[in-house]
């Protein structure tokens, strides 16, 4: 028998070797991806930076993409850390072996898929809709996982995956990761508030200071609220796959301690098509809710499904999957402690009953099966999360209300929700998608509601009002909270190079920071940090106009004629109204902004009457220009773009971070964005 098997194996291997020689497409077995990511695996560099770091007890998934030899399959696999299996057996009273973590093991391959999932000629996966794996992998590839692993042993650890092929041979690969103990010696912060000015670089902050506070003889007349924070860092913002991040990893890197790829939230990249099955890493909110019972608050001026708010609690590799993202906010509230969710994005919460027989209510719902989620057993078992359901017909507002959340559709509704006391939980959806910017919300409060009326939402709260209400709700939890408050349209308007609107939104953002600073003064066990996910547009303060507002308005194609540089810029003077915002952004000798990461545009140096289009709105005003290259066309001065597309882009520039309150002294020097996570966690677990 043994001889027969040896002969069969020898023949089998001879056949495989012959196949390998006959075709250059037949590759040797290999592990093409090992998660969490490491330089040890990627470049076999044991001395490179440790890419993946986790807190003691922070959960993360182990995963490998295994490409067996041609004609073979993977029959078994295991992961080990420092030589010990991560799925250890236990022995019961009857000496029977069992694997208690076995229900956290998963594998994904095309073995049960439609024939169209593997190209008949090349034998490679096709990545077609309905298949399991991305295109271009050998057809017998398998993605293997162990979910929700955690370690309490501080230090750098070796991760190994070993896979057994159907001929009994084994293939393996090694990587590493680090377990980090919280830093000692800092005051304990019960409450953590992260202010995220999306796209807010140093220029954005300075421009808001010049407009809101003014300068005299070279000195700012007063600081912004964020300027008063005593500790400052510069933050490196790169993502896992680019020096230039987008907003998804830009935010999630702060609250997972790990690098994600662009477009990805709370996950590492993988080789499967399902956007919700990627290897997960535990968020700060999940970690601190499970460990300390803290609540989570998410407040934004964007659509709540947007990359930054979702990167506080949602696990997906596709930031556009709105239906699944908003569902997961509610479904996993027991994991995150979600108590406050406020912003725009009502369109994802409305039922879309496609099977309705009678004409369905035309409510503008954008819920779709295609971007909803259903999780596999290994994820559900490992993480203890909801499985999810493809349910565009779900009435998510009603479900939030059923779960005890007060619902506010507008600013009046927000105040009404507090009329009889502070609610325990709060949902505010103030716009169909992104909220209007403060420039237009303030105009409405001063009597010109043209823009907010055109968008269909005349009564939207300002960020400072949302912040005040959110902190009231969150402060009810004696265990404390984690809050993320986002000035989202600093980025969105910088993309559009709408100078007056993004500066205005930095001022709104700073007024919200002032609310939180006051809260922290009254609650000294609070840490507040102000930062950005990345810089947007390469904005630069060029100087100021050498012309009056009237002359500037009369010559919208003045180009460089009135651009005053150096001493010609002097000190622009804006008048701040009683509501705290500039009476007008068009003043004599106004501040002028240029863009280093710009697309084509026509510059007039003047405020734009209407915001540039946002097609996610139900009533995009006809007056809205479609993009900066058509806005003021044939009116303004043409500035040739340096980037493709029709919008300015993010840059890789380091961004400033300011810290105030308990444990703020941790923030100094030049740090990586993932470092922020460990400092926040150290604050939460301090003395």
């Amino acid at each position: 028998m043994r001889t027969d098997r040896l002969i069969r194996n020898a023949l089998s291997h001879a056949l495989l070797a012959a196949l390998a020689l006959a075709s250059t497409d037949v590759l040797a077995a290999k592990i093409s991806r090992l998660t969490p990511p490491s330089e040890l695996f990627a470049s076999n560099n044991a001395n490179g930076p440790v890419i993946s770091r986790f807190l003691q007890g922070q959960r993360f998934d182990l995963q490998a993409t295994v490409q067996p030899d041609a004609g073979l399959t993977i029959t078994d696999f295991y992961f080990s850390v420092d030589g010990s299996t991560t799925n250890p057996p236990t022995i019961d009273a009857n000496y029977k072996l069992s694997y208690p973590l076995g229900n956290r093991i998963g594998r994904v391959d095309e073995s049960a898929s439609d024939a169209s999932c593997i190209d008949a000629t090349s034998g490679k996966t096709t990545g077609k809709s309905g298949c399991k794996l991305v295109a271009g992998l050998p057809g017998n590839t398998v993605v293997v996982s162990q979910r929700a692993y955690a370690s309490y042993q501080a230090g750098v650890h070796r991760l190994k995956v070993v896979a057994t092929q159907s001929d009994g041979s084994r293939i393996s690969a090694e990587g590493n990761f680090e377990i980090v103990a919280p830093a000692d010696g800092y005051a304990k912060a019960k409450n953590i508030i992260v202010f995220l000015g999306d796209g807010m670089g140093a220029t954005h902050r300075t421009a808001a200071r010049i407009m809101a506070k003014g300068y005299a003889q070279g000195k700012a007349k007063a600081p912004l609220a964020m300027d008063t924070f005593p500790y400052t860092s510069m933050v490196m913002t790169s993502s896992l796959n680019s020096i230039v991040t987008d907003s998804a990893p830009g935010m999630q890197n702060y609250v997972t301690g790990n690098k994600a790829e662009n477009n990805q939230e709370g996950v590492f990249p993988d080789d499967t098509l399902d956007a919700f099955d990627n290897p997960r890493v535990e968020y700060l909110s999940e970690y601190l809710h499970n460990l300390q019972g803290k609540s989570l608050g998410v407040v934004t001026t964007a659509d709540v499904f947007d990359a930054t708010p979702a990167s506080m609690a949602i696990h997906t590799s596709a930031r556009g999957n709105g239906t699944g993202i908003v569902d997961q906010f509610l479904d996993d509230r027991a994991q995150t402690g979600l108590a406050v969710l406020m912003g725009g994005g009502r369109k994802w919460f409305l039922p879309n009953a496609s099977n309705s027989v009678s004409p369905q209510p035309v409510n503008g719902s954008q819920r779709r099966k295609a971007n909803d989620y259903v999780l596999s057993d290994d994820i559900v078992n490992g993480w203890g999360v909801a499985r999810g359901k493809l349910d565009p017909e779900r009435d998510l507002i009603a479900d939030f209300q059923g779960a005890g959340y007060a619902y506010a559709p507008d600013n009046a509704g927000l105040n009404e929700a507090f009329k009889h006391g502070t609610p325990n939980k709060l949902l505010g959806l103030f716009a169909y998608s992104n909220m209007n910017v403060s420039y237009d919300k303030i105009a409405a409060r001063r009597g010109d509601s043209t823009v907010v009326d055109a968008f269909g939402f005349p009564d939207q709260p300002l960020l400072e009002e949302m912040t005040d209400k959110a902190l009231q709700v969150l402060a009810k939890n004696s265990n404390g909270f984690v809050a993320m408050i986002e000035g989202a349209s600093i980025d969105k308007q910088a993309h559009l190079m709408d100078t007056d609107r993004w500066i205005h939104d930095v001022i709104e953002f700073d007024r919200a920071i002032a609310v939180a600073k006051k809260f922290a003064q009254n609650n000294p066990d609070t840490l507040v940090i102000v930062t950005a996910d990345h810089e947007c547009s390469g904005a630069a303060i060029l100087g100021a106009a050498t012309a009056s507002a009237a002359d500037l308005a009369a010559t919208p194609n003045s180009g460089t004629r009135y651009v005053g540089t150096y001493e010609a810029a002097k000190f622009p003077k804006y008048v701040i109204a009683a509501d705290g915002y500039p009476q007008s952004t068009l003043v004599d000798n106004k501040m002028l902004i240029g863009y280093g990461a710009n697309a084509d545009r026509y510059e007039t140096w003047l405020p734009n009457l209407f915001p540039t289009k946002d097609t996610q709105q139900p009533f995009p005003p006809a007056q809205s220009p479609s993009d900066p290259s058509s806005r003021n066309k044939d009116v303004g001065y043409f500035v040739a773009g340096q980037v493709p597309g029709d919008q300015a882009v993010h840059t890789a520039t380091d961004i400033p971070l300011s810290a105030y309150g308990a444990s703020a002294a941790q923030f100094h020097g030049v740090i990586d964005n993932t470092d922020v996570f460990f400092k926040l966690a150290s604050a939460a677990m301090g003395q």
């Binding site: 987008d246 662009n262 956007a275 659509d303 499904f305 947007d306 990359a307 596709a318 930031r319 556009g320 999957n321 709105g322 009502r346 369109k347 409305l350 879309n352 009953a353 496609s354 309705s356 009678s358 004409p359 369905q360 035309v362 409510n363 503008g364 719902s365 954008q366 779709r368 295609a370 971007n371 559709p409 507008d410 509704g413 169909y432 998608s433 009326d453 269909g456 939402f457 005349p458 980025d491 969105k492 993309h495 697309a599 289009k613 097609t615 996610q616 709105q617 139900p618 009533f619 995009p620 006809a622 479609s626 993009d627 980037v643 493709p644 597309g645 029709d646 919008q647 882009v649 993010h650």
Partner: protein, 199 residues
């Protein structure tokens, strides 16, 4: 319900008339949607559209939903409901779609593009977008027309799922047959540049 029934019956009758033309439409070649086409005169927008033909009413995107938006979502306007089952004329932009639409296209109040294949960053279309259906041309790629276009056809109010994309639209128009013929016969124009969105 009787009103709804009448509307559906009227729609069915009008669509049936259009179906007479469908055999001719199916035989015509068409420029793929990924290549912009020259806008045929029947769909071109000049400075003054003039009055709509007899039996046709102008419908504006802004008249599709009530304003301001209700606490639980959008509601169809009285104007829209009154036109259900009747012929309307609309002016808007053809949405640039990937994969290319077949037998239908989306009409938007603003220039827009979507790619269902590439997992779009967001559902980058306003809800007032109208699905324009071309009877008898279910498998025909629809030429992409740049700029503003005008169309006319029979309005249908009520959710309907586009089986190809899974997108659920609130309003549809069954395109008038002469306009459908002109559209499907449109010829290529120079290609458009790719764009990039906010992230």
């Amino acid at each position: 319900m009787p009103i709804v029934a009448r509307s559906i019956a009227l729609s069915a009758a009008l669509i049936a008339c259009a179906a007479v033309e469908s055999a001719a439409l199916a035989a015509q070649p068409a420029t793929p949607a990924s290549t912009p086409a020259r806008t045929p005169a029947a769909l071109a927008v000049h400075k003054d559209l003039g009055k709509p033909p007899a039996g046709v009413t102008d419908l504006k995107f802004h008249d599709i939903f009530k304003t301001p938006v209700g606490d639980k979502g959008l509601e169809p306007s009285a104007t829209l409901l009154a036109l259900d089952g009747k012929r309307v004329r609309m002016v808007g932009y053809m949405v640039y779609q990937q994969p290319e639409p077949r037998g239908m296209f989306l009409l938007s109040p603003l220039p827009a593009e979507i790619s269902d294949e590439d997992e779009p960053l967001a559902d980058d279309l306003p809800p007032s977008v109208v699905a324009v259906e071309i009877a008898g041309a279910a498998n025909r790629p629809v030429p992409l027309l740049p700029g503003l276009i005008r169309i006319s056809g029979v309005l249908h109010v009520g959710a309907r799922t586009d089986t190809a994309s899974g997108r659920i639209g609130a309003v549809q128009i069954a395109l008038d047959a002469p306009i459908a013929r002109a559209l499907l016969g449109a010829r290529s124009a120079p290609a458009r540049p790719a764009g990039a969105g906010a992230r």
